[in-house]
Amino acid sequence: MRNGERPILLLSIIASALCFMRASLLSYEESKSAASLGASGRASQTKKTHFRSKLSPIPYPELSPFESAVQQQIREAQAKLDSVKQTPAATDGQLSDTYGELGKVYHAYDLLEAAKACYLNAQTLAPHDHRWLYYLARLQHGDGHLTEAIESYRSLLQIRPNDAPTLLGLAETYLDQSRPELAEPLFEKVLSVDPSCSAAMAGLGKAALAKRHFAKAITHLESSLAIDPKARSIHYPLAMAYRGVGELEKAQDNLLKRGPEKPSVSDPLMEELRDLTTGHRLLWIKGSKALRERRLAEAADIFRRMATASPQDPLARLYLGTALSLLGDRQGALEHYTEGLRIAPTNPKLHYNLALLLIGQKSDQEAIEHLQATIHADPGMKDAHFHLANELMRAGRFEQALPRYAKVIELDPGNGFARLMQAMALVRLEDYEKAKDVLEESHSALPDNVDITHALARLLAACPNSAVRNGTRAIQLIQSVVRATENLDLDQVQTLAMALAEVGQFGRAIELQESLINEVKNAQRTELVPLLTENLEKYQRGQTCRIPWRSDDPIFSPIPGTLAPLDPFKQEASSMRKNNALPTP
C-alpha cells in the first residue's frame, strides 16, 4: 500500500463502523418503542412507528374465478388498504385495522396465504391487538400448522388470559398434538369461569379418552351432553368411552345418536368472519353447512336471503323448502317447492320433496305424478321408485307397482320391504306362483327378515292354488319366526292356525283360533272378532282357509314411514368439501 492510500483506507473503515453503529442504534430505538406500548395493546393512534419497515408485501390473489359480488368485495377491501397506505397522516392503528380487515375478507374466502400475510402485518403494527392474533391462530390451527398455532394462542393468552375461545382453541390444538395433559388445565380454566361451557366439558372428556381413562371420559362427556343435548357430536367419543369400559349396549346406543352438531361456543370474532361471506354460491355453502349441522333456523334464513337475491334460482327454493320442512313448516315448504318447480320444471329433487309433502297430506294422485317426474329426470333415485311403488299399491294399481318394486330391489337388494310388497302385488294380481317365487328368493336373500318369512308361510298355508300350498313347510317357517322373535303377533298366530288346518290338525287350529278371539276381545278389538270367527267356523267344519289375505288387508296399503325430505346433508355427510355439489337444475 502506498502512503497516500493508508489514510483513505482508515477513513473508510471508520465510516463503515459509524454506519453500522447508527443502524444498531436505530434498531435499539425501535425495541425501546415496542417495550413502551403498554397493556392496552393497540398501536399508537397518534403516531407512526418504525414497525412499518418490518411489514411484508401482501399478495394480491387472482380473483377471476370468484363470482362478481365477491370480487367486488375483495377489491374494495384491497383499495381501502392501498388508500390508507398512501395517506401520510394514517396512524399505525389505522393501518393495522385495514390490514386486519383485508385479512378477514381473504380468510372468509379461504385465500389463506394472503390472509396470513395481512394478519401478520396487522399484528406487527399492533402487537397487542388480540383480534389479528386470534384469526391467525385459527388459520394456523385449521391449516394443520399446530406448533405455530400454539405459539399464537399462547401469545394471545398473555393479552387476554381468560378468553374462552382462545383457551378452547389452544386446548384443542394440544389434543390434536396428542398432548391431553396440556389440554386439561385449559379446559378446566374455562369451566372455572363458565361451568356451563359444554365445549370445555366435552374437551375434558376427549382428553380423558385420549389417556384411556374411560370412566372419567364418560363422566365428563355425559355432563357435557346434559348441558347441551343438541351437541350430538359428543355421542361418538362417549360411545368409544363406553366401549372402553365394556358397556357395549350404551356404546351402540350412543353410536345411533351421533351427529355433526358440535357444542355451541360463543365466538364473536369467528361469527364476524362468517358474516362477511356474500355472493350466491357462498351463501349456498354457508346455508348448506348450517343445514348439515342442523342449525335449521339459520339455514332457512340464509336460503331465504338467497332466494330473495336470486329469484330465478330453483336451488335456493329447494334448500329453503328442505329447511322449512325439517322445521315443521310444511305449508312454507310446499310453497317454495312449487315456486322452484315453476322455475325449473324438471328438477328431480324438487319433484321428490314435493311428492313427499303431498303424501303426508294424502294427495296421493298428485304425489304419484311428481314421483313419476322425479324418476323421469333421475332414473337412479331409488327412494323415488320406492315411494312411487308404495303409492301405486295404495291406489290399487298393482301391475304398475310391480316394475317399480323390481327397480328398487335392483338398486337396493337389501330392501326387504320392497321385496315383500312386490310379492303382495303379485298376490293381489292372483299370480300366486310368481308370488311364491319372489318370497322364496327374498327369504333366501334375507333369511333374518321376519316379515318375509311370515308372508311366505301365510301363502304356503292358505294359497288357493294347490301347486303353491305346503302346510308342513309353512309350519316350519312360522316356527323359525317364533325362534327369531320369541313371540307371535296376531297375524302370525292366524298363519299358524291356517297352516295347522292345512296339514289336517283342525283341533289345534281351533284351539289357537279360539284363544286368538279371546285375546282380541280382552284387548277391546271387537271389530276383529267377525273376521277371526269366519276362519274358526271353517276349521270347526273341517275346512281349510283359502284366503291368505283379504283384499282389504292393510298389508296391501303400505303406510308411508318417515317422509323426510331429500336431505343432501344427512348424517353420513363428511366434513364440508369446498366444492361439493352445487348442482344446476
Binding site: 394443520g144 357430536s233 337388494p413 337389501g414 355427510a573 363428511s574 368439501r577
Partner: protein, 596 residues
C-alpha cells in the same frame, strides 16, 4: 426492558460474528454442487427410490378422456397390477387405461390426447429380468399386450389378481366405469375374456376389487367395490367456492351397493351380494383390503368409503357378513366424522400380532391410522403416531405398508393427487391443476412415524396426480418396489435402492391341491431376538391395484431366524425351521410340521 446503548451495540457485533461464520459454512456446502433435482449432491447419494419406468421399457401414459366437461369419473382412475402371469418367477405388470369419455365425444375432443398405441387400452408388460452370476440385475420389460389377447378398451378403473380356477396361473379381474371383465389366464401367454361364462360382470361404476376365499372352500371368491350412480344422463355440475366449475364429490350421487361373488369351484360364480348381506349397506366404496381382523381364522373385508362411514365386514362364518365398523371404532375418525377414504391397507405396524389399518383421505382430513387392539377393535391414533399433521395438506390415494429399509418395521408410502382444483395452480393457468407429491413415512419402531419424503429420492419431488400403486419386489432383490399410476400422467416404477442392503426373508405360500398363492394365509416369523413379525399373503389393498402375493420380511441385521409358522386359510397351522434368509422360499401347505 431497555438496555444500555453500548451493551446493545456490542451485542449486535457479537451477533454478526456468531452467525456469519455458520452461514458461510452453509454457502460453502451448497457451493459444492446442487443437482438438477434441487437436492445437494451429498444428499442425493442417499436416495431410497429411483424411477426407472422408461429406462426398463414401461412406457405408459394414462389417458383420462377429459374434454373439459368435468365428468366425475375422469379424475378417479386408475390402477396397476404386479403379478407373475407367465410363472417365470418374476413380477409382470398390467396397467389400467382409460378411454374417451362422454356421449358423442371423439379423441379429437380430448384436452390431453392419448399418448401411446391407439386405441387406448390396458397394457401388459412382461418382465424379462436377468439376474447375472455376480448378483447384478438387468430389469427389462416388453409390451406383450397384443400377444396376450387382453383387449381392455373400457373406461378402466382398477385391477385385481388371483387364480380363480386353481390351475396355478394368475387371472385378472378388471373394473370399469361400465361393465367389468374377467380375464382367464390360458397358461400360454394369452388370456380369454370369460366374464359372461363366469357370471362376474357388474355394469355399474366399480373401482377396487379383491379375490379372497371367504368361505374357506379352497376357491377364490370375488369382492367388487362399487362407487356411486353417476352417469352421463344424471350428471350434475359442481362448483368450487370460487364459483369456477369443478369436479363433483361422492355426496352428489347415491352410493351403489357392493358385490360379492361366490366361486362355485367350476369356473363360475354365484352372486351372493344380498344373501351375504354385503349389499345391505352402500356407502360409495373406493378401496378394499381383506384380512382376519378379529383373529378368528376367517377372512374379513374392510372397505374404504368416500365421504361416508367405512365398512368392516366381519365374516360370520356362515356365508354372511356383518358390518361392525361403528362399534369397532374404524368407521369414522376420532371426532366421529366420516372421512373421504380412498386407498387402504392392513398390516401389523406395531408388531403386536394383529393387522392395523391405514387409509388415505382428502386434503384437510389426514391419513388415518386405526390401531387394532388384537380383538378387532380399533382406535384412531393418527395424531399420536405423527401421520396426521404432515398428511393433512394432501389428498391421498394408493397406499401400503412396506418395510422399505428392511428393519423389520412396516413403513408407509402414500401416492397423492387432488380431486378438486388447487387454486394456486389454477391461478398460474396450470392445465391440470390437481398434482401433488408422494410421501414416505419411516416407522421409528417406537409407535411413531417420521416423514422422510425429502430423502426418498427425486421421484418424490415430482408433483403428479397420483392414484393407484402396486407394491412388490419387481427385481427380486429382497426389497419392495412400487409401481405408481398417475391420472393423465406417466406410470412410474420406483425401484427400492436401500432395502436389500439388510437381511430379508422372502416367502411364497402355495396350496397343495389349490396350486396357487394362498391369499389370506398368515405367517409368523419368530426372530432370534425382537418381536415376532406377522405378515399375510395378499394381492389386494392400496387403491384399484394388485400387489405381489409373496411375503417379504425385513430382518435388519439378523442373519438368522428361529422358525416360521404358517396359518393357512383352511385353519391348518404348520411350522418350518431352517428357512434360508436373503432368498425366496416356497412353503407348500402340507409340507411343514403340523402345529396343534
Amino acid at each position: 426492558m431497555a438496555r444500555s446503548r453500548i451493551h446493545y451495540v456490542f451485542t449486535e457485533v457479537q451477533r454478526l460474528v456468531i452467525f456469519v461464520l455458520p452461514i458461510c459454512g452453509l454457502i460453502s456446502t451448497f457451493a459444492q454442487g446442487i443437482g438438477n433435482d434441487g437436492l445437494p449432491k451429498a444428499v442425493r447419494q442417499v436416495r431410497m427410490f429411483e424411477d426407472r419406468a422408461e429406462a426398463v421399457g414401461i412406457d405408459f401414459v394414462h389417458f383420462n378422456g377429459m374434454s373439459g366437461e368435468h365428468y366425475f369419473c375422469e379424475m378417479v382412475g386408475s390402477g396397476a397390477a404386479m403379478f407373475d402371469y407367465d410363472n417365470d418367477g418374476d413380477l409382470d405388470v398390467y396397467l389400467v387405461q382409460g378411454s374417451m369419455l362422454g356421449p358423442s365425444k371423439t379423441l379429437g375432443d380430448a384436452l390431453f390426447p392419448p399418448r401411446g398405441p391407439l386405441p387406448p387400452k390396458g397394457r401388459l408388460f412382461r418382465n424379462d429380468l436377468v439376474v447375472h452370476t455376480d448378483g447384478s440385475r438387468t430389469l427389462k420389460f416388453t409390451d406383450v399386450t397384443e400377444q396376450s389377447k387382453i383387449d381392455a378398451r373400457g373406461y378402466g378403473m382398477g385391477v385385481a389378481t388371483g387364480d380363480f380356477n386353481n390351475d396355478g396361473w394368475m387371472d385378472l379381474y378388471l373394473t370399469n366405469f361400465g361393465s367389468n371383465q374377467m380375464w382367464r389366464n390360458n397358461r400360454d401367454g394369452t388370456f380369454d375374456d370369460v366374464t359372461q361364462e363366469a357370471g362376474t360382470d357388474d355394469p355399474r361404476w366399480s373401482v377396487s376389487a379383491a379375490f379372497l376365499d371367504y368361505d374357506r372352500d379352497g376357491s377364490l371368491d370375488l369382492y367388487v367395490g362399487n362407487y356411486v350412480n353417476f352417469s352421463f344422463t344424471n350428471r350434475k355440475r359442481c362448483f368450487a367456492y370460487t364459483s369456477a366449475e369443478d369436479y363433483c364429490g361422492p355426496l352428489s350421487y347415491d352410493p351403489v351397493p357392493e358385490r360379492l361373488f361366490r366361486n362355485r369351484g367350476d369356473g363360475t360364480f354365484e352372486d351372493v351380494s344380498a344373501k351375504s348381506q354385503i349389499a345391505r349397506e352402500a356407502n360409495g366404496s373406493l378401496g378394499v383390503v381383506s384380512a382376519d381382523f378379529n383373529g378368528d381364522g376367517w377372512i374379513d373385508i374392510y372397505v374404504a368409503n368416500d365421504g361416508r362411514s367405512n365398512h368392516l365386514w366381519i365374516n360370520q362364518r356362515n356365508g354372511t357378513f356383518k358390518n361392525e365398523a361403528m362399534l369397532a371404532g374404524c368407521a369414522l375418525n376420532k371426532d366421529g366424522q366420516p372421512e373421504s377414504s380412498m386407498g387402504v391397507d392392513a398390516g401389523d405396524v406395531d408388531n403386536d400380532g394383529d393387522d392395523d389399518l391405514v387409509m388415505t383421505n382428502l386434503n384437510g382430513e389426514k391419513t388415518t391410522l386405526f390401531v387394532n387392539d388384537g380383538k378387532g377393535w380399533f382406535e384412531d391414533r393418527s395424531f399420536e403416531v405423527g401421520l396426521a399433521v404432515p398428511s393433512k395438506p394432501y389428498t391421498g390415494f394408493g397406499t401400503a405398508f412396506l418395510d422399505y429399509d428392511s428393519d423389520g418395521w412396516l413403513d408407509l408410502l402414500t401416492v397423492n393427487g387432488e380431486v378438486r382444483t388447487i387454486e394456486a395452480l389454477a391461478a398460474v393457468k396450470d392445465p391440470y391443476p390437481l398434482h401433488q407429491r408422494k410421501q414416505l413415512f419411516h416407522n421409528l419402531g417406537n409407535g411413531r412415524f417420521e416423514e422422510v419424503t425429502k430423502r426418498a429420492g427425486a421421484v418424490f419431488g415430482l408433483s403428479e396426480v397420483g392414484r393407484g400403486a402396486a407394491f412388490g419386489d419387481i427385481d427380486n432383490d429382497g426389497d419392495t418396489d412400487v409401481l405408481v399410476m398417475n391420472n393423465n400422467g406417466r406410470a412410474r416404477l420406483l425401484i427400492n435402492e436401500v432395502g436389500s442392503h439388510k437381511h430379508w426373508l422372502g416367502l411364497r405360500l402355495v396350496g397343495t391341491k389349490e396350486k396357487r398363492d394362498m391369499l389370506g394365509a398368515r405367517v409368523a416369523i419368530f426372530q432370534m431376538s425382537g418381536p415376532t413379525l406377522w405378515r399375510r399373503v395378499r394381492t389386494d389393498s392400496s387403491y384399484c391395484s394388485a400387489s405381489d402375493p409373496r411375503v417379504l420380511v425385513g430382518l435388519g441385521a439378523s442373519s438368522k431366524i428361529k422358525t416360521i409358522q404358517a396359518f393357512w386359510p383352511s385353519g391348518r397351522v404348520e411350522e418350518w425351521a431352517e428357512v434360508p434368509i436373503d432368498t425366496y422360499t416356497t412353503l407348500r401347505e402340507g409340507t411343514g410340521k403340523r402345529v396343534p
